[in-house]
């Protein structure tokens, strides 16, 4: 049985976290350019709240300083990325405090949480203040696909540019900080489900694939959030199963649920199954 810590030789957790932060920065900067100061305030609020919460709890409960591993900063940044730029600042702060205090530190800190902290925080605020989340991504089809790819799409801060998110992830793939199985299965099963069922009730296999792939949190979730090494399976087969489940659930919530976006609840739900997936796929090649 493979047990914690899951991070083996090679990159330390600090290097991994900082690499992800750096790869996310272009998309973040572009969002600030596009949305102006409100996006910056949301990002700063979520990062600051996340760092302060981690600092306080680590000092009080564990008598340790844990900001050095960079995971709290990354969590804060990812929370900001999943929120629309126009939310009041108590939303990113509440999401960050919940993510760090409840999802992460209650279970013992980095490497011991079963749920992705950033997505846990996002789900917490989504159910608490749904009014800010109903209309976020992709109200309608943009005039041209090219403009979407270049200019970005409406929605949460991190959804603004599919191009920059994909470019940032290339480095992470090359360094094997994120593994290909989870994003491939995630995007694959999501695309299949969209192609087959999103066109209902007009008929099967008529889904609007670019709309579903390029708008909303799919790329951010598949590339940066579902790939969190702490909360995704340890085996290759396990990661494929995990990603496929995420994609299918994300499609179901987005297409048929009351919310505009389905990635966060889908990944959080699949996080719950990770220990089971690990156990069932233990004998498969890692």
């Amino acid at each position: 049985m493979i047990s914690a810590p899951h991070l083996h030789a090679g990159p330390t957790s600090r290097r991994m976290m900082l690499s992800v932060v750096v790869c996310l920065l272009p998309a973040g900067l572009w969002a600030v350019v596009r949305y102006g100061p409100p996006a910056l305030y949301v990002l700063l609020a979520s990062i600051a709240a996340s760092l302060l919460t981690e600092l306080a709890i680590a000092a009080l409960a564990f008598r340790r300083f844990t900001l050095g591993d960079g995971s709290a900063a990354l969590t804060g940044l990812l929370i900001g990325f999943t929120l629309p730029p126009a939310v009041p600042l108590y939303v990113p702060i509440a999401a960050a405090v919940f993510a760090i205090a409840v999802v992460k530190m209650t279970f013992g800190g980095l490497g011991r949480n079963w749920m992705n902290p950033a997505l846990g925080g996002r789900v917490f605020v989504m159910f608490s203040w749904p009014v800010f989340f109903h209309a976020s991504p992709a109200a309608g089809r943009a005039d041209s696909l090219l403009r979407w790819i270049w200019n970005g799409t409406p929605g949460a801060i991190g959804d603004v540019s599919a191009t920059l998110l994909v470019l940032g992830s290339v480095y992470l793939f090359v360094r094997r900080i994120i593994r290909w199985e989870t994003p491939a299965a995630f995007i694959g099963s999501f695309s299949l489900a969209v192609w087959a069922f999103a066109g209902l009730p007009h008929g099967f296999f008529r889904g609007d694939l670019p709309l579903y792939l390029l708008t909303g949190g799919l790329l951010l979730g598949a590339l940066y959030q579902a790939t969190d090494p702490v909360t995704s399976p340890l085996t290759r087969v396990g990661r494929l199963v995990f990603g496929a489940g995420c994609g299918l659930l994300a499609f179901l919530v987005r297409r048929f649920g009351p919310y505009a976006e389905g990635v966060a609840p889908a990944v959080v739900f699949m996080n719950m199954l990770v220990p089971l997936i690990n156990r069932l796929t233990r004998r498969a090649a890692c």
């Binding site: 009041p88 159910f127 608490s128 203040w129």
Partner: protein
């Protein structure tokens, strides 16, 4: 003996089914807690009276029958005098009859009246207080209000400015019940040790 420190809800997680379900409002929680207290006390008294003549195998079935009778009486009382609140409690009033607190008491609790009555009172009161605490946290944070009972010119609901406009609504939903109960139990256990 009377023991209010071993809170059945926060320490043993007994009776969490109604505690999770009806703790969205303080008035609901108070009525539910009192109902459990009354049924627990009543069942204990009946069982203590029957103890000398009762075969062991019949203890649990008879305790459930006694509890069901008391719950039905309580249900009729609530329907008559507090119909609005009774509506809000739903199926959970009837479910008090098979509350695990009650089954646990019958199975493992003390049997002599002089010991059983204070013990049952302690458990019932402890459950009532625990439930009130959970409901207070959930309603204040999740709705920004405190629902009490209308008296004279007081409408029965306290509003907390600021929170009532944009409350943390998830705490009123099912996950909020588990979160609040879990953290209260953790704090309670920590404060005891």
């Amino acid at each position: 003996m009377l023991n209010l420190r071993d809170n059945p809800l926060l320490l043993y997680a007994l009776g969490i089914c109604p505690a999770l379900a009806v703790s969205t409002r303080v008035d609901n929680a108070l009525v539910m807690g009192l109902l459990v207290l009354v049924v627990l006390m009543g069942t204990t008294l009946v069982m203590a009276a029957l103890e000398p003549v009762l075969p062991e195998a019949l203890r649990l079935p008879l305790a459930l029958v006694a509890a069901a009778g008391l719950v039905t009486a309580g249900d009729l009382f609530l329907r008559t005098y507090l119909p609005g609140l009774r509506e809000g409690l739903g199926i959970y009033v009837q479910l008090v009859a098979v509350n695990c607190l009650l089954v646990g008491r019958t199975e493992t609790g003390r049997r002599r009246l002089s010991e059983a009555a204070p013990e049952a009172f302690g458990q019932g009161a402890g459950f009532c207080l625990g439930l009130l605490l959970v409901a207070l946290v959930r309603e204040v944070l999740g709705a920004g209000t405190i629902s009490l009972f209308p008296v004279g010119s007081f409408s029965g609901t306290l509003r907390i400015g600021g929170l009532a406009e944009q409350p943390v609504r998830i705490l009123l939903l099912a996950p909020g019940a588990f979160l609040v109960l879990g953290y209260l139990a953790a704090l309670y256990n920590r404060s005891r040790s």
